[in-house]
C-alpha cells in the first residue's frame, strides 16, 4: 500500500483513452490566443466552443484598458488577503457596484467563484445544529463548501422542489439553521432551476436559500441579473453567489445579500480571510465588464441568437441534446470511449469543446459540452456546425461504448 495507490484506477482509464488518440482532453494548451473565440493549438487555429466566455468580453476594449491602467497604477498583485492588506478602494467599489446592479444591500468579493461558495457555505452553516440541503447536481465547490462547513448535508433530487420539501419535512425540530443550495443554470447540461418554487418552499420551512448564478449572471433576465431576475424572485434570494470568470471575463467571485449579517463573513469565512485578494487588473477588468453588461443589452441578444442557432442545428442533426436551448449545449454520447473519440474528432475538425465524463457529470453520462459566446461570429458557428455534421456521420458508423 502506498500514498499513490488510490490514483491507479483513474490513471489507467485516463491513460488508455489518451493513448488511443495522442491527445489529452484534460490538458489542452492554448498555444496562442487569437481572440475570444480562436486559439492556436498544436500549430492549428481552432474555434473555441468550450469556454465560459458567454458575453465574449475578454478582449473588450474598455476592460483591457481598465486592466492595463490598474496594473500601472496599483501594481501586479496585492500580496495579501482581503482581511489584511489586500483590500483596495477598487475592491470595495466593485462590491458597491455589484450590490447596486443586482439590487442587494451587501456584497463581498472573493478571489474566485469557487472560494465565494466555499466561503459562504462553510461560514453560514455550522455543525452540529445547522443542516445544509443541496441540489444533487450542484457544482463541486458547493459540495466542498459543505465539507469545509462540516454541517450535516442532505442532497435532494435535481431541480425537484418536492424532493426538497420532503427532506425539509423530515428534519428534526432541534435543527437550528437550514441552508438550501442550488444553481441558476447548471454548467454541464445547461438546464435551469425552478428558482421561484425552491425559494417558496425553503422559506415556508424557515430555510435560507443560497443561489449560485455563476453561469446565469449576465445571461438571463431582462437586465442580465440572472435566472432569479428572469423568474422575478431576485429580492427573495437570501444569498446570491457569482463569479467574475464567466460573463465578467476576469477571475474572482462574490456573494450578495440583503441580510446585514452577510458582513460577518469578513471575519468568519476562512476562504475570504486566508487567501490573497484578486489582483488590481482582475478587479478592474470585472468592473469594466460589469459596466458594459449594465449598459449594453445587445451582447445578450446576440448570445441567445447564437445559442438558438446551434441548438436547432444539433437537434436537426439528431444529437441527443441535454436541455432546451441555452448558451450551454451538451450532447450525450454512448459512453466514455465514444465521447473521447468524438471530442478528438472535433479537435481534428478545428473545434474545441469540453469533454465531460463520470463522475463529473449527472446520471453517469458522457457528454460533449459546447458553450456559445456572444463573440462567436457566423463564420465561427458555421465551422462548429459543419464539424458536428461530420461528427454525426462518423457516429452513425460507430459502436464504441466504454
Amino acid at each position: 500500500m502506498s500514498l499513490f495507490d488510490k490514483f491507479q484506477p483513474t490513471k489507467e482509464m485516463y491513460y488508455a483513452l489518451r493513448e488511443q488518440t495522442g491527445r489529452d482532453p484534460f490538458g489542452v494548451s492554448m498555444d496562442e490566443m487569437k481572440g475570444p473565440t480562436r486559439a492556436i493549438v498544436k500549430g492549428r487555429e481552432i474555434v473555441l466552443a468550450g469556454t465560459n466566455n458567454y458575453l465574449g468580453l475578454t478582449y473588450d476594449e474598455s476592460a483591457v484598458k481598465a486592466a492595463q491602467d490598474a496594473v500601472a497604477q496599483s501594481g501586479t498583485g496585492t500580496t495579501g488577503s482581503r482581511f489584511a492588506n489586500g483590500t483596495y478602494d477598487a475592491h470595495r467599489q466593485l462590491e458597491i457596484d455589484l450590490a447596486a446592479f443586482l439590487g442587494f444591500k451587501h456584497c463581498i468579493v472573493f478571489s474566485t467563484g469557487y472560494q465565494a461558495n466555499l466561503g459562504a457555505i462553510s461560514s453560514l452553516a455550522k455543525p452540529p445544529e445547522d443542516v445544509i440541503l443541496i441540489d444533487a447536481d450542484c457544482h463541486a465547490c458547493i459540495y466542498d463548501g459543505c465539507q469545509l462547513s462540516g454541517a450535516e448535508t442532505i442532497r435532494f433530487r435535481h431541480n425537484n422542489p418536492s424532493s426538497l420539501e420532503k427532506r425539509l419535512q423530515r428534519l428534526d425540530e432541534k435543527v437550528n439553521g437550514k441552508l438550501v443550495c442550488l444553481e441558476g443554470m447548471y454548467s454541464m447540461f445547461g438546464d435551469t432551476a425552478p428558482v421561484k418554487e425552491f425559494v417558496d418552499i425553503a422559506h415556508k420551512y424557515g430555510a435560507h436559500v443560497l443561489l449560485d448564478e455563476a453561469h446565469s449572471f449576465g445571461v438571463f433576465g431582462d437586465n442580465g441579473r440572472g435566472l432569479a431576475e428572469a423568474q422575478d424572485i431576485i429580492g427573495d434570494v437570501d444569498f446570491y453567489t457569482g463569479t467574475f470568470s464567466k460573463s465578467l471575463a476576469s477571475i474572482g467571485g462574490f456573494v450578495a445579500s440583503n441580510h446585514d449579517e452577510l458582513e460577518y463573513l469578513r471575519f468568519s469565512s476562512r476562504p475570504y480571510m486566508f487567501t490573497a485578494s484578486p489582483s488590481p487588473a482582475n478587479i478592474a477588468a470585472a468592473s469594466a465588464a460589469l459596466k458594459r453588461i449594465a449598459s449594453d443589452q445587445s451582447m445578450r441578444i446576440t448570445l441567445w441568437e447564437n445559442a438558438k442557432r446551434v441548438h436547432a442545428a444539433f437537434t436537426q442533426l439528431g444529437f441527443e441534446v441535454c436541455a432546451p436551448a441555452s448558451p450551454v449545449i451538451a450532447v450525450k454520447l454512448a459512453g466514455k470511449a465514444q465521447a473521447f473519440k468524438a471530442w478528438n474528432f472535433l479537435m481534428e475538425n478545428g473545434v474545441y469543446v469540453n469533454l465531460a465524463i463520470p463522475p463529473g457529470t449527472p446520471n453517469a453520462t458522457s457528454i460533449l459540452r459546447l458553450s456559445v459566446s456572444a463573440a462567436h461570429t457566423n463564420e465561427d458557428l458555421d465551422i462548429v456546425i459543419s464539424a458536428y455534421t461530420a461528427l454525426s456521420e462518423m457516429l452513425a458508423n460507430d459502436d464504441s461504448k466504454d
Partner: protein, 87 residues
C-alpha cells in the same frame, strides 16, 4: 411487526436490488461487498443509489454519513440507525 433479523434481511435485499443495475461485473453481493472497491461504482453513483434508498424508506441519509460507508453491510446498519432516529 417484523423481527430485527427479518427487517435486516429485507433492507439488505432492497439495497441489493437497487445496486444490481450498477453491478456490471456481476459480483456476488454480500454484507462485506465494498461499493467502490469491489463494484467499481464511482462516488457520485453511490450518492445516487442512496437517494433511491432515501425515497424508498422515507428517510434522509446525510452525505457525511455516506462518505464513511464502505460496504453494503455498513449501509444496512446506517439505514437501521436512521430509521430508528427519524421515526
Amino acid at each position: 411487526m417484523t423481527s430485527i433479523q427479518e427487517d435486516d434481511d429485507l433492507v439488505f435485499r432492497k439495497i441489493c436490488s437497487l445496486i444490481e443495475p450498477l453491478n456490471e461485473k456481476g459480483v456476488k453481493l454480500t454484507r462485506d461487498t465494498d461499493l467502490i472497491a469491489d463494484l467499481e461504482i464511482d462516488s457520485v453513483a453511490v450518492l445516487d443509489v442512496v437517494m433511491d434508498i432515501e425515497d424508498n424508506y422515507d428517510i434522509s441519509i446525510p452525505v457525511n454519513t455516506i462518505s464513511e460507508i464502505k460496504t453494503i453491510g455498513e449501509l444496512v446498519d446506517a439505514i437501521h440507525a436512521i430509521k430508528k432516529e427519524q421515526s
